[in-house]
Symmetry: C2
Subunit: 358 residues, 2 copies
Amino acid sequence: MSRVFNFSAGPATLPLEVIEEIQRDLPDYAGSGMSIMESSHRGKEYSAVHDEAVANTKELLQLDDDHAVLFMQGGASTQFPLIPMNLLGAGQTADYTNSGTWAGKAIKEAKLLGNVNIAADCGKEIPTRVPTESELQLTPGAAYLHITSNETISGAQWKSFPKTEAPLVADMSSDMLSRPFDANQFGLIYAGAQKNLGPAGMALVVIRKDLADRAPENLPSIFKYKTHIEANSLYNTCPCFTIYTYMLVTRWIKKMGLNALYQQNIDKAGKLYAAIDGSDFYKGTAVQECRSDMNVTWRLTNEDLESKFIADAAEQGLKGLKGHRSVGGVRASIYNAFPTAGIDALVSFMQEFERANG
Amino acid sequence: MSRVFNFSAGPATLPLEVIEEIQRDLPDYAGSGMSIMESSHRGKEYSAVHDEAVANTKELLQLDDDHAVLFMQGGASTQFPLIPMNLLGAGQTADYTNSGTWAGKAIKEAKLLGNVNIAADCGKEIPTRVPTESELQLTPGAAYLHITSNETISGAQWKSFPKTEAPLVADMSSDMLSRPFDANQFGLIYAGAQKNLGPAGMALVVIRKDLADRAPENLPSIFKYKTHIEANSLYNTCPCFTIYTYMLVTRWIKKMGLNALYQQNIDKAGKLYAAIDGSDFYKGTAVQECRSDMNVTWRLTNEDLESKFIADAAEQGLKGLKGHRSVGGVRASIYNAFPTAGIDALVSFMQEFERANG
């Protein structure tokens, strides 16, 4: 078994001990005589997994009783329409900040469904960034304010969250459970699982329960947050295996400690940013104050050199460094489970590559 | 390792060789240095899996080029609203047959979204059944006719499919790929994966491509079949691991042969129905002509005896025989991957149980 360093933006590297536990538990989970992916979603083995996944999430986020934890399908992209369908009443306005590709997608879908005010727009700026709290032009009585806590493609991240009268809604797909923050401040948080949380196929949703009452009566059942709150995410067959893996990941986060992981994430990102800043050969994509601890993005002097960098790195077992196809460049996605040894290997490679090609 | 006989309705038993292959391929898939659940959904390893899953489906269903194969999230329950949202124009009527719980759910959601005509209603009849083609009261110019090919809860199954002018739409969640049929006759087929196809977390959709053009422009992108057709189910991050498992299951179906599996399914169900019919102690739930080859349902003379039957069976490694909580009784779900040895064990148990309690 030879594991590479996997810098993919998502699906992304998972803790090796989690993968190994999954492997051990196939094809007989906990003496049940079947694997967990064959177990009824209403049976005792899976129920214990499901309940622990909810409990670990509540504990890690220190959630109050006004908030519910949901496991939904369809990724963050399905939340883009579900949020306005549930939360944006007729005649109301929702505020959105535009900070890049993912915020832009949330905005595009919301505009199909209701009134949208762009509270701040730096979506096309280079170097990339997220808005500052002071530049937000908020609508009085807005249904909610939507932000994208970390732009996976541009590598820009909100370092603190705005205090707002309207419920704050955040796409945290690429930094959920990577740092401590006050989750109870939020009206709704959603995150595709395939970065810090587990395999693709689940969106974690944290919602202030009273907001779910806003949904119009005639919204289809499966699209109502209320349905999933009332059914504890078991209205229909849930993606059991993905939730099981997420449960194992939350166990691992608890064992590591969220604060300790956060410190490790800062240190990992810091090493890469230091390597970028220490050379004129590399140029970071995001403005300094917004640099993401999860997705470190940079450019080389030309695209041919970038292609060579990415190809040479892959040959040395540093895989998945290609920037998103929409923007190019280099991107190192270094979520919770990405090991420090891989950062050190990448820093060494960057130095070698510069010596050889600089 | 001791595997039980798992009669769960879904998630359900998978071929042991598939589970073992998944196990072998963790944590290093095909020498890539990472598991398949950590691989980028746009990388070469996963792309090969995805393409094979599509190709195997097309081959097994002998699909023509007018039809597309989609992997979507949210289970069959998400298809309930998506179908009218995409296919049912303003002012049009959709025909639905009501044959039980699942058809009823499809109808309930469609009614929120447009005009629905109940073309036949035997949803509450006991013994349970599906409509006959001759009793259908179809709407001229209907947007489509929706049927539920196999009612997982009641154990009633369409044995042949009606020929209709309107596109035929079918929920095949519990009998997809369990028998040969003319898939090209259908406008749209959908099936939650967690019965014959793989783990929970994916819906297989087969759609006649021209029908996707009916969707209104302002439908959110993720809800449009057209989006997923154009992106080959990669519009957003797909549930890679579930699709990977589905691909392995389709490989297994190809190896076994769909016709041979069908014959085996008939034989398996036949043995159980013979055991039911051979005794006054057991009473089948569905009318003879509609008896499902996938979900065999029956009653005992009283509920206490049913509870004892289910509990005693579980002690002998025959698990998951409890009927759906909404109807009670006994249900043996015996999908493609359920082994004949488990049928024989259940038949023996039924005879013993009758001797001891009859």
